[in-house]
Point group: C2
Chain length 341, copies 2
């Protein structure tokens, strides 16, 4: 077993000083051509690679980005990570991923765990519980220590930092408007409880679209789902007890579940009920009928977040206090769950 070789060992072996070795490897002009070549040859032979931990300690930079997300077995979050990882990699950064499991405590613990030197900055999306409690002290704390934070998707106005979002309100508005344009009036909404920021915004967009078109907002057609495990029954009940000609769902799961419920009730999609979902993931693409949906480009979102974070990390001047919020554009992907004309 050939352990990793250090500068000290090379120095000893070649009977020169550590500084000479270091300088030789960095092509310093202080070192004579002779010794430089000698050292470099030796280093190559023994496959010397500088120890990154030592460098991190010295430079006070780890070239590592910490990610905190609610879950990873989730198409959208996976695409975001993918986007972050690729941009990070291009800039020589690694990403360390932690999961909050939608729990406030885990979010705090993970944050503190990473904040002690392991990473240079955070990219995160808030857990449901955090959004519910509205407790962001852990975030402001690390920011106070000079560690930049970029939030994406599930953000909050209570923390000043860089953010990457989509215009959830507008996207929902446009999706519902599309349904209205096709002549539907009895449009149901399947959404989350209000403390989930994006759920609330999409709900607002739905309401706005109806109001703009002078359609009465019927509370019976709005279903706010708390517990995902029960969503199939609730959705079925919604469709069974109400005349509904279209459904707008704030995520893929609700959309596909609505389709399943409609089928069960003997209502064809899209002939009798149209469905539009949110987030262009695997389900929308491969369910049958495939689902018309608001595409939310996670790759782009993650990439943008990584870019913003890295720019802030590498701008020497600590130009605080003019944080940006980037809005990623969305568009409607038309598929089989809505009528073509």
């Amino acid at each position: 077993m050939r352990r990793k070789v250090t500068l000290k060992q090379i120095a000893k072996e070649l009977d020169v000083s550590i500084s000479t070795v270091s300088k030789s490897l960095r092509d310093s002009p202080e070192i004579s051509e002779d010794t430089r070549q000698k050292v470099q040859a030796f280093a190559k032979l023994y496959n010397y690679k500088p120890n990154l931990i030592a460098l991190s300690l010295k430079n006070k930079k780890t070239k590592t980005i910490g990610i905190i997300i609610p879950e990873i077995v989730h198409h959208f979050f996976a695409t975001v990570i993918s986007g972050i990882e690729h941009v990070a990699n291009e800039h020589g950064y690694n990403v360390i991923v932690t999961l909050s499991d939608e729990s406030f405590d885990k979010e705090v613990i993970n944050m503190e765990m990473l904040a002690n030197g392991t990473i240079d900055g955070f990219i995160m999306s808030l857990s449901k519980e955090t959004q519910h409690k509205k407790d962001f002290h852990h975030i402001t704390e690390v920011m106070n220590q000079g560690m930049p934070v970029v939030m994406f998707d599930r953000v909050t106005n209570d923390v000043l930092c860089d953010k990457v979002i989509i215009d959830d309100n507008l996207a929902a508005y446009e999706a519902v408007q599309t349904l209205i344009d096709k002549g539907f009036r009895k449009i149901a909404l399947i959404t989350t409880v209000d403390y989930v920021s994006v759920g609330k915004l999409r709900t607002d967009g739905y309401v706005k679209a109806l109001k703009t078109n002078s359609i009465e907002v019927n509370p019976n057609l709005i279903l706010k789902i708390e517990d995902i495990d029960l969503c199939d029954l609730q959705i079925e009940e919604l469709l069974d007890n109400n005349e509904v000609d279209a459904v707008f769902a704030v995520n893929e799961l609700f959309a596909v579940t609505a389709i399943k419920a409609a089928k069960k009730l003997g209502r064809n999609v899209p002939e009798e009920i149209s469905v539009i979902g949110f987030t262009d993931g695997i389900i929308s693409k491969y369910s049958s009928p495939s689902i018309t949906t608001v595409s939310q480009n996670g790759i782009k979102m993650g990439g943008k977040a990584a870019k913003m974070l890295i720019e802030r990390l590498e701008s020497e001047e600590e130009e605080e206090e003019h944080y940006k919020t980037e809005v990623i554009e969305t568009h409607l992907v038309i598929r089989e769950s809505t009528p073509t004309l």
Copy 2:
């Protein structure tokens, strides 16, 4: 902005030595009750947390696990990461995730990037290109430096290390046997090219099941897909040109695509064609008809891999050369794409 406080600063402030501060915080009996309390109070006030990078350098342990996978926007790999992350977290480890994008070069680069002190060990699944090239020098190299590696799912016999797999051969065999038991004889196989290890094993299982039941293996019914983007056409062609009463697909995507193709050709699933897939992911669950599939528990697989790696990391004795291969059990999840009786 309150920067992070160090031992040195506390020492200076309290006019004691660094060692005294360190010992006080670790409740060393060498320190008097008085100073210990004083130091601890001060540390708490200023929210002192030891710098993990410094500790890593000193201890030569980073408490971080490196993961290298082909892609992350993939249900199975996401579940594996989830499994790893949770077990790792329980043991005080972080995970750093890198993606090879199925590229040999990226796999090598990522590995070398992490091998220089950033992590204590690897958990990885081979990229397609690596499996094709059969070049594993990057892996043996880090292992030679004393860094443990655990492989999962896409493994190779050419490297001796801990592994976590499912019995792909047996699982495929049992799935096909199930189809045979239901009376099907014209069973098509949709698989990957042979250099993908799991694809090959599943193909072998298919063949074995047919042979065991004295059913002739018809090459026309075996489709090996190289380019995923073209799989829909190829599958459609397969079903169109052959009498097929059942399909066994080695992943979800092929399974759902087969169902779509069957529908397009006017053949009902499961009435006219049965389909069994592999990997119990989102697609299988939510497509309609939902897909009968071989469940491959990624959470368990990741958890097991993490456990094996951590055990090896924390066993003082470097008990090399008796590597284990753990086999995670699979089972068939019966859904709508196969007839009930």
